[in-house]
């Protein structure tokens, strides 16, 4: 990975108009409510908002029109999602389905799966969750033990997933399971798309340290799903999953999770800030501007059909460090009580508490650095 040449970010069409339309739409439709919902907003679930966003054509943008999608270019979608995140819009409900499950179904899914799931995803009405982690398989994902056995009636699933964000609000789970008996490590794995109302599935909440119910554990007790639940090729689950993970690490959500706090900091500072505050704003601005260039360049590379696995990991590593450090750096210089009612204080507290997760979800810092080291030729 010698040198990081910037790849030109050049979406088709009138990008300024796309931004202006969306900003106008948000001004009319973004819920005003609780300012804290704007922090880490891709974890904020709001089905009404997702449905309205879908109706306005901002969900499933890159899916083909025959499946209800917008037939738009991936970089047009990039523009839309960075605007939504910068505005702190509550995009959590449809986020996973729009970002990865929909595109994955389009790429690997059967025609029946596409027809069944994609239109609902594009409407912002059908939500998906990611079934990778298990109690014994965290960073070491190849240790997955949940099994699916093929029978004459279909696949029988037994096992457990954990940390499944939004499972209690989702319609489907895309689960990585072991389909080949006696297989080990990353061989013999497959992806199954399972409706969460199938008998035998139990979803239990896990309350996070912020007191929120976002993630869950899911038990599969002899769950029977049709043969057609298999996504892509039997036994190719590992390849499909790593492509899915690797390519979704460079999005703007990897550096914008704390953006609402930055906005509040700048607004609270006023036009003539004291030197310490001005200095911090300057440093954070240099970071965010640089990260945006890196993220856009990587998105453009992806859109051009390349495989920028290492660049994507660089964006995640730097982006997570930025969004995670920001609350700490803000706290170090602003005077505000833990329970103060100002927007700045509320966002600060919420993000100090939420931010440890930023370098865990989507691959831990250590795992991401390992991928970068491999790109450097060290492993």
């Amino acid at each position: 990975m010698q040198g990081f040449a910037l790849y030109p970010f050049d979406p088709p069409g009138d990008v300024a108009a796309l931004r202006a339309d969306l900003r106008g739409w948000l001004a009319a439709n973004q819920p005003r409510g609780d300012v804290v919902k704007r922090a880490n907003c891709w974890a904020s679930f709001d089905a009404d908002f997702s449905r309205a966003l879908g109706a306005a054509g901002y969900v499933g943008m890159t899916l083909p029109a025959r499946y209800g999608g917008g037939d738009r270019h991936p970089l047009e979608r990039y523009v839309v999602i960075e605007e939504l995140l910068a505005a702190g819009a509550p995009v959590g409900a449809h986020w996973i389905a729009d970002r990865q499950t929909g595109p994955l179904i389009l790429r690997y899914g059967s025609e029946a799966q596409r027809q069944r799931y994609l239109p609902g995803i594009a409407k912002g009405e059908l939500y998906a969750c990611i079934g990778l982690s298990e109690p014994g398989a965290g960073s070491d994902l190849a240790a997955v033990r949940t099994t699916a056995r093929e029978t004459s009636e279909g696949w029988r699933i037994n096992g457990q997933k954990i940390w499944t964000t939004g499972a209690h609000l989702s319609h489907v789970i895309l689960a990585l399971v072991r389909t080949e008996e006696g297989s080990e490590r990353n061989a013999g794995l497959s992806q199954l798309l399972v409706d969460l109302d199938t008998p035998g599935i139990t979803i239990r909440p896990i309350i996070d340290m912020a007191g929120h119910h976002d993630f869950n554990e899911i038990f599969f007790d002899d769950v029977l799903v049709p043969h057609g639940a298999l996504v892509g090729e039997r036994g190719q689950g590992w390849k499909q999953v790593t492509a899915e993970l690797g390519l979704e690490r460079s999005g703007p959500e990897r550096y914008l999770s704390s953006h609402a706090l930055f906005v509040a900091l700048i607004d609270a500072a006023g036009a003539d800030p004291e030197p310490a505050v001005a200095g911090l704003i300057g440093e954070l601005t240099a970071e965010i501007w640089t990260l945006r260039q890196l993220s856009m360049s990587t998105a453009a590379k992806l859109a051009a059909g390349e495989d920028p696995m290492v660049e994507a990991s660089v964006v995640k590593e730097l982006g997570n460090a930025f969004e995670q450090d920001m609350p700490r750096r803000v706290q170090a210089i602003v005077t505000s009580g833990w329970d103060d009612a100002s927007d700045l204080a509320k966002l600060l507290r919420a993000l100090l508490i939420a931010s440890p997760s930023f370098s865990l979800r989507g691959g831990t810092r250590e795992v991401i650095r390992g991928i970068i080291a491999r790109g450097l030729g060290l492993r």
């Binding site: 960075e82 906005v263 607004d267 800030p273 200095g279 300057g282 390992g370 080291a373």
Partner: protein, 237 residues
């Protein structure tokens, strides 16, 4: 990269590799690179300058190549010098990273190359991220200077951000490069100090961290929280 820029870079590499004296660099005509064609120059754009300075930062960080190149523009203000320095810094950091990777792949301890140890791998990954950030910042800054026709006021935001980002990377990059090299990197003979000492010097020249942080911070405070985002998106993409 365009064919013309490829050729320019080939020339720059040929002239700058191992150069110990600015005279041959002067003879190659780099002072004319940014001078418009109708004034007898090469009419290069800022991205051309960036490409040459990047090579200079790698191959000849001790020579005043940036001064030479800027001399074609007459008396220039601090932001021009800061912009040129960012490109040098990107090149020098890339060189520090290559030297480090080569070293850990070659040097053996405990019966293995150092690069096989996870602690070393993780350090170099951190360093590579900083280098990538500076590379991206330098290239984006150059693109902005080109988009504005070298208008230093219109590009002041990008220059401030890029110099500040590069400055902040210096500590991490030089520290990790020296750490993974061990004692050999602390010698005068070994090439590492040829890039790390200039990096230390450049951090303080043409605006240190505090200087650019104040400039940028005050500019952004004037924009307001939402205004920052509107400005970022109006500038690129």
């Amino acid at each position: 990269m365009s064919a013309a820029r490829e050729m320019l870079c080939d020339t720059a590499r040929a002239v700058l590799s191992g150069a110990t004296d600015i005279a041959p660099v002067e003879e190659a005509g780099f002072a004319l690179l940014l001078v418009p064609e109708d004034e007898g120059g090469f009419g290069g754009d800022w991205s051309d300058a960036h490409a040459v300075l990047h090579i200079a930062g790698m191959a000849a960080p001790d020579l005043p190549v940036a001064d030479l190149m800027l001399s074609g523009l007459g008396e220039v203000s601090l932001p021009y010098r800061a912009a040129a320095t960012v490109s040098l810094m990107a090149g020098a950091m890339g060189q520090a990273l290559s030297l480090s990777i080569d070293h850990v792949n070659t040097r053996q301890q405990f019966g293995r190359p150092l690069g096989k140890f996870q602690a070393v791998q993780q350090s170099l990954a951190v360093m590579a991220c900083e280098v990538a950030a500076v590379e991206a910042a330098a290239a984006a800054m150059a693109a902005r200077l080109d988009a504005t026709g070298f208008d230093i006021d219109a590009a002041s935001f990008e220059i401030a951000a890029a110099k500040l980002r590069a400055n902040r990377a210096v500590g991490v990059v030089t520290a990790i490069a020296h750490q993974v090299h061990g004692a050999i990197g602390f010698t005068r003979e070994y090439d590492l100090q040829r890039v790390t000492i200039p990096l230390m010097r450049w951090r303080g020249e043409h605006g240190n961290d505090a200087y650019w942080a104040q400039v940028l911070g005050r500019q952004v405070a004037g924009l307001g929280g939402r205004g920052l985002w509107e400005s970022l998106t109006a500038r690129t993409g």
